[in-house]
Subunit: 514 residues, 2 copies
């Protein structure tokens, strides 16, 4: 048994059973060991940002880490943007980053770089296994670190000689750490403040957004406490039978309008809401003046338990509001729009589906409609780095092969990690991709004015538009192995999407939205 075997054995012993890989020479021992460890499912990605985003999608659904397999500093670098999102989602991930043999580093060969420094900003844990005998123990440490709480990407650097050297170390098993509920004194203090407040809001995020957390939050809503949810959540259960808290608006002025008169904001599993970007003469912190913030549960605590205890403390009813089953019989017609797409999705999304949302400007219109869909989970853009929708779908589908996955993505977003389409085809994943084709970085056309930059002149506009040349999404997706169709009318999308929900396997719908 060499170090690579020891690594795989420890990962498997800790129930890490999926690997999203884009290896190079320094990772060949790991690749060879895959033949000896058939319990590890390996999924090849043609770009590392697909691998890291897939590991994020996998971790959000499986609630345990996948590993990535990355090639030294540059391979890790290509995965940074989606690891930024994963860090913000607190998704457990174990990055295995191959490195030169320990004794080879001193020669500064072309691929040499400071991997630990590069990995630090987006890792909750970084260590290098400098000896084969250290691999198993460090792999277990990485798994534990990835769980947190609150968890995130842990990065294990694996020098080539640590991988190829023999070792007799046994697999090391770690326990998933438990979250602690906040003390009763905190519950009592918050309950007292809630009773005293004129217009309290409870803002939930992170772990509080589990199905059980939502159910407990709904009890507060039933007691006339407004519940809101973070704008972007790693995993949010939605649809029929679920409680749909009001989403914190993306733009500061809309958020502050929604919070008008609020004098108490209770935070569960999240922190005080802040504007996504700063703008001249607009606030950063989304708190009305005079509003007091109180923490019910931090990101590391058990916010679900805390919400339950709070609901009990204020004598909330056992159940709160939930979405009724109001699916419309009317199929949408006319020009395609995010709203009409949302109606079609709401009508046909199967029970237990997963929506991976990287739709930027088009997603809000869809989300308005999908509260009426069958129960589903939405995986959101936690870190703001676009290009995560398709990779998330790869990982979610690997984690839950029996659930239909729908990826919603802008055309601009999809281009960052378009290589994911190939992996969807190769692995025959049950994913329907909807690309909102508007030939534009639409969000930037909106943001341009907001930043005080004025109207875009012709040279600026050329940086915001991506329609020259127009990307032919049907040819593009077909070239990477996906059945693909393009829709311009709501009726057409309705029938295409309905069919897609009835068959298994990957496909892409190019939705030409205005």
């Amino acid at each position: 048994m060499n170090g690579a075997d020891a690594l795989l054995a420890t990962l498997l012993a800790n129930d890490v059973t999926a690997c999203f890989a884009n290896p190079g020479t320094s990772e060949m021992q790991f690749v060879a060991a895959l033949d000896r460890q058939p319990a590890m499912r390996s999924v090849l990605c043609l770009f590392e940002g697909v691998a890291t985003g897939a590991a994020d999608g996998y971790g959000r659904i499986a609630e345990k880490p996948a590993c990535t397999l990355l090639h030294l500093g540059p391979g890790y670098g290509n995965g940074v943007a989606n690891l930024h999102n994963a860090r913000r989602a607190h998704t457990p991930i174990v990055n295995v980053i191959g490195d030169h043999a320990t004794y080879h580093r001193q020669y500064d060969a072309p691929l040499n770089s400071d991997i630990a420094a590069l990995a630090a900003p987006n890792s909750v844990w970084v260590k290098s296994a400098e000896r084969a005998d250290a691999v198993a123990e460090l792999a277990a440490e990485a798994v534990a670190a990835s769980y947190g709480p609150p968890g995130g990407p842990a990065s294990l650097i694996l020098p080539a000689d640590s991988a190829w050297t023999e070792t007799s170390s046994s697999p090391v098993v770690v326990k998933k750490p438990a979250r602690l509920a906040p003390p009763g004194s905190v519950i009592d203090a918050v309950a007292g403040a809630l009773r005293a407040a004129a217009k309290p809001v409870v803002l939930i995020g992170g772990q509080a957004c589990q199905a059980e957390g939502l159910a407990q939050a709904a009890r507060l809503q039933a007691k006339d406490v407004t519940v809101m949810v973070d704008t972007f959540v790693a995993r949010l259960p939605r649809g029929t039978g679920r409680f749909t808290p009001q989403r914190m608006p993306y733009f500061a002025e809309a958020a502050l309008k929604a919070l008008e008169g609020v004098d108490l904001m209770v935070l569960a599993g999240t922190t005080e809401p802040v504007a996504f970007f700063a703008y001249p003469d607009r606030p950063s912190l989304l708190m009305p003046s005079g509003c007091r913030a109180m923490r019910l549960a931090s990101r590391t605590e058990d916010a679900v338990e805390a919400l339950a205890a709070l609901a009990d403390a204020i004598a909330a009813p056992r159940e709160g509001p939930s979405e009724p089953h109001v699916r419309t019989d009317m199929s949408p017609s006319g020009d395609l729009s995010p709203q009409s797409i949302g109606i079609s999705i709401a009508r046909h999304l199967p029970d237990g589906a997963i929506i991976c949302d990287d739709g930027v400007t088009s997603s809000a219109g869809v989300a308005e409609q999908t509260t009426a869909a069958a129960p589903h989970d939405v995986l959101g853009l936690t870190g703001g780095a676009i290009g995560i929708g398709l990779p998330l779908a790869v990982g979610a589908a690997v984690a839950a092969p029996d659930r239909k996955v729908v990826a919603l993505t802008g055309d601009g977003s999809a281009m960052y990690t378009v290589q994911a389409l190939w992996t969807l085809a190769r692995e025959d994943l049950d994913v329907t991709v909807v690309v909102f084709v508007n030939n534009s970085y639409r969000i930037l056309n909106i943001e341009m004015a907001r930043t005080g930059s004025g109207a875009a002149g012709p040279r600026a506009q050329r940086i915001l538009d991506i329609g020259e040349p127009e990307i032919d999404w049907v040819s593009l997706a077909k070239s990477l192995g996906l059945p693909t169709i393009s829709c311009q009318r709501a009726e057409h999308f309705e029938s295409v999407f309905a069919s897609a929900m009835k068959v298994r396997g990957p496909q892409l719908i190019a939705a030409l939205v205005p």
Copy 2:
């Protein structure tokens, strides 16, 4: 004038006239300023790795920096792999990385991260312009730092408020720093050692590989001193009339065979040769035992001057060998191969062309043939991070619109930054892309055995092959706006390539090699 204007004004005052951009909200002021500063050519890239690789290609050809425009940490992260290559190529680049407004950082909004830490490993200089008044001076510092010597990517972080705040600062101009020649005592010592050595080799790299450096190195060769060149060089003049030094072989055993009996290695513009990767029981340092290394010129010194002085000191003739004009009249036939492709390229490459080489296993066969091509420059894979060929071509073509650019790339390599095809089409760049389609990470099939990993079993093999599904390169390139053709026979490639060399504009040839 705001900070963004001040930045553009200083960049332009320092002859930085091209910007490869993938901006977001925090960069909107810079984008708006492009309309007020029409001398800055801006090129939109749909992925940041294209922008950074293009800036590298631009800098290698223009011998001055382009700037990139990147969106906070994740945008920079997507550019890391090609900045790793640029760092190794010592290419001057100024990264402009947008950041949150200075006062907004404390709220840790979703896109917040430690940009300076992320940028440090691949930057020769990193600073943040914390005030609008500081922008001009720091931009000039960045330009100067990017030149070195030996130069590389400099990263200027531009907070949004530094961009939008008014400033009255004037453009700051810096001088391109000169390289100093090594002292006469070094020349004398090396000349003495050369005379005393039984089998000396001069290894050249970096700045020594300029056309004039090659001419001076040829003089040494004429005096029976074997001249070799680094395996990977940022920019290497080749073809008819140029001196072609022997290339340091990629694999250690081949390199040590080539160096058998060598007792002196003189280094000009480079360092001692090292193996690209370590392998069990193979050496890291490519120096025969008993061989002495002597530095003629470091990477920061003027190696061209040093080579000239050395040639004078050993009384070398005024001219050395150069490639004769031996272009074959026989057009290749039969199955397509790297060699037949090389013959076609050698026959038809126009004078002054630029070859961007990311061809991995196929490139060596091509390079054997192209010594007989018209004079051209080859931009090589300096840092080993594949996925640079297409972006390099974007940048080279922007830097030299009157030169034909040929991008040679593996199919695996091309997929990392396939978004570059769209920019080639949008900017109507005069680039012919040749993709070697072998449906495999061919190099890894070779490296697998070399690393002692044994033969690939079925699960490992699935990680090395990329042919399931087969990527349809014709549809893929067409979907991104490029005229495209696929070739399987040498005769067909010959006629297609010959035609491509005669017309202006981008196109792609999918070369199906076995």
